[in-house]
């Protein structure tokens, strides 16, 4: 009798599903009449979107003076919200690209969903650098296109790198998402019974017909895109962190920023995927595909990246002391005890303590608990960006120029408004596009593997080979 237990890999799709039932389960959401609840949710989402447009309009009319920025603090909620939304986006690319390269088949249930979240989150993020420049009508100066001054962008500036990084990230994420969608749009085209849907889905599926000669190139393209998106997603938040790290402000000028930002981005992104997934799978009855096993695996990733973030917080403190730089030491002590200590301790509680609960199997498989933690994590990550941005600017080298920063109502309304944009886009996605990668989920069913059929073409469910002298653990969440 060994002390080790054999843990069987849980089935990726629960329930008694075959290819046709998966197709029906997913496409029915798009093909049946719009439920009333969808309109009820669309209403507040559109109202918030209107609020966003109104606050942007007022900002352009009146200028950035409507925000709470003051003399030392020239970067406020705009950059905080930008970093926060971009960070959330990272989970989608991690799920679609990095987990694909690691052959994590469980990603198929959530990748479509998470990639959609990425795209909408990056849209929300891109608003802020766009509008915060003051003179939005000359925003094209950030691009290398000829202008009346005959000047070109400064390629030594991290802010310019950001323009290239985030716009490339958005474009590549969109392409990756669309490539994944094409076969599923073809499924919708073939399932649709009315002319409008047949033409609409038909146009966007580009004439896909499931040819295996096409799949052959398609799989190659998907793998290459995953290989390209992996360094890309790591580079994006690295470059976002350069916005801070390349300057010589105390608390910003550190080499730990790139890995620490990337870990934080994945941490908050997975939390956002969970928040959305837990609601959506309940509403649309997708619990057979987005199972509790998925939730548990994502919680483990949250725990790992959350611990990395916690480690980074401690490392920053240590290096501040070890560097011997007065200003560096002072800013870290001020963060924990100074005027923004309240924000610092919210951040510590949400980001360092809350993910540690997931060491307990009972808690990380509990849906309600996961939902609460997923929201707590994103509150914490917002405050992390607040602490980094505001404390370092408000209390830098010269105490005589220190000032306290408070946002105005317009800061808050713009931020709340971005949830309207996100919500509107997400509801449109749920209504009109397949929320689960149908073809990919079918490909990980045991019925998809030709080896599970005998020579007469009869299906035999695979039998798990259990090593001798080993006890078998109870199946997870049976």
């Amino acid at each position: 009798m060994s002390k080790y237990q054999y843990v069987p890999e849980p089935a990726l799709v629960k329930g008694d599903h075959d290819f046709a039932s998966i197709t029906h389960l997913v496409t029915d959401v798009n093909l049946r009449p719009t439920p009333k609840a969808w309109y009820l949710l669309m209403l507040p989402a559109n109202a918030l979107l209107g609020l966003l447009l109104a606050s942007i309009g007022y900002l352009i009319w009146e200028g950035t003076g409507i925000w709470g920025l003051n003399n030392p603090v020239g970067w406020g909620w705009a950059i905080i919200n930008f970093v926060w939304w971009v960070g959330i986006g990272h989970a989608g690319s991690l799920i679609s690209a990095i987990l694909f390269l690691f052959r994590q088949d469980w990603r198929t249930a959530i990748n479509r969903f998470a990639e959609a979240m990425t795209i909408f989150a990056v849209m929300c993020a891109l608003i802020f650098p766009g509008i915060h420049v003051g003179r939005i009508w000359v925003i094209y100066w950030v691009f290398p296109i000829p202008n009346q001054m005959g000047m070109w962008p400064n390629f030594n500036s991290p802010l310019l790198w950001d323009v290239f990084a985030v716009s490339t990230y958005f474009t590549v994420s969109l392409l990756f998402w669309y490539v994944g969608l094409v076969p599923d749009l073809a499924t919708l085209r073939d399932k649709a019974s009315d002319k409008i849907r047949q033409i609409g889905y038909g146009l966007f599926s580009l004439g896909w017909n499931g040819s295996n000669r096409h799949w052959w190139n398609y799989e190659k393209a998907y793998m290459i895109l995953a290989g390209l998106a992996t360094p890309l997603v790591l580079s994006v938040h690295t470059i976002v962190s350069f916005d801070f790290a390349v300057s010589v402000i105390p608390g910003w000028h550190t080499t730990i920023f790139p890995p620490y930002f990337v870990a934080g981005a994945i941490f908050s992104g997975f939390a956002m995927v969970l928040t959305l997934m837990i609601i959506t799978r309940k509403v649309y009855g997708m619990e057979d595909i987005m199972t509790n096993d998925h939730m548990e695996k994502m919680n483990i990733i949250i725990m790992v990246t959350g611990s990395m973030v916690g480690f980074a917080y401690m490392m920053e403190f240590f290096i501040a002391w070890y560097s011997g730089v007065e200003y560096e030491k002072a800013i870290f002590i001020l963060r924990a005890t100074g005027p923004y200590a309240w924000a610092y301790w919210i951040m510590m509680a949400c980001n360092v303590i809350s993910p540690q609960f997931f060491w307990s199997k009972k808690l990380r498989t509990n849906v309600t608990f996961t939902f609460i933690i997923s929201i707590v994590v994103n509150i914490g990550m917002w405050f992390e960006r607040f602490v980094i941005t505001v404390t370092s600017l408000a209390n830098d080298y010269l105490p005589s120029s220190w000032d306290y920063y408070s946002p105005t109502i317009w800061d808050a309304l713009t931020y709340i408004g971005t949830f309207g944009l996100f919500g509107t886009m997400f509801l449109l996605f749920l209504r009109f596009l397949p929320m689960i990668a149908i073809a990919e989920v079918k490909a990980v069913l045991p019925q998809a593997d030709p080896h599970n059929y005998d020579e007469h073409g009869t299906y035999h469910a695979p039998v798990e080979e259990i090593p001798e002298h080993v006890t078998v653990a109870k199946p997870k969440n049976a």
Partner: protein, 180 residues
């Protein structure tokens, strides 16, 4: 218009599972047909070997685009910051290679991704508005739960009777002629 006056595109056979599709693909290749294709709702493990598909050329397209992105980024920055309008920014060199890494990297990735996506559609002959197979009502299930093989009339070895016979022996669930 009667079936006789239309040009035949090929003969389509329907199968129920991926194993049958792999088996029949092997036989089609053995018989020496080369203008044929198989259709399935998802990519099937091992079908490339059964159909004797050649390695996809997509990698070369992506490499070409990646190199183009790399070169374009470096030349753009060199032209703008060294030749056309050099600016002295805190005494840094005009050709500031380390600072140019992020933009070069991003443009290389961007162009490679364009190469991967548009190259894939180009190799597949997509987008395409119509296809003879779309006239077949049953073929709609090729994106749902059925597996199809079509031997095309353009194949030099194509004889309608022989193909019918072959599919019947192979155990096809349904056989249908496709016209353009």
């Amino acid at each position: 218009m009667s079936a006789e006056t239309k040009k035949m595109y090929g003969i389509l056979a329907e199968f129920n599972n991926p194993r049958e599709l792999i088996d029949v693909s092997k036989k089609v290749v053995e018989l020496g047909y080369d203008k044929f294709d198989t259709y399935s709702p998802f990519p099937i493990h091992g079908i490339d070997k059964a159909m004797k598909l050649e390695k996809s050329k997509l990698g070369w397209i992506v490499l070409g685009h990646g190199l183009l992105g790399f070169t374009a980024a470096i030349s753009m920055m060199y032209f703008m910051s060294v030749i056309d309008y050099p600016l002295n920014i805190s005494g840094k060199p005009f050709f500031n290679a380390p600072a140019w890494v992020p933009v070069t990297f991003e443009l290389t990735i961007l162009l490679s991704a364009f190469g991967a996506v548009f190259g894939m559609f180009f190799l597949n002959g997509l987008p395409r508005l119509n296809h003879p197979l779309f006239t077949i009502e049953r073929f709609k299930r090729s994106t749902d739960d059925k597996f199809f093989v079509c031997i095309e009339a353009a194949d030099s070895k194509f004889h309608a009777d022989q193909v019918h016979e072959f599919f019947k022996e192979a155990g096809a669930a349904h056989i249908e002629e496709v016209y353009e």
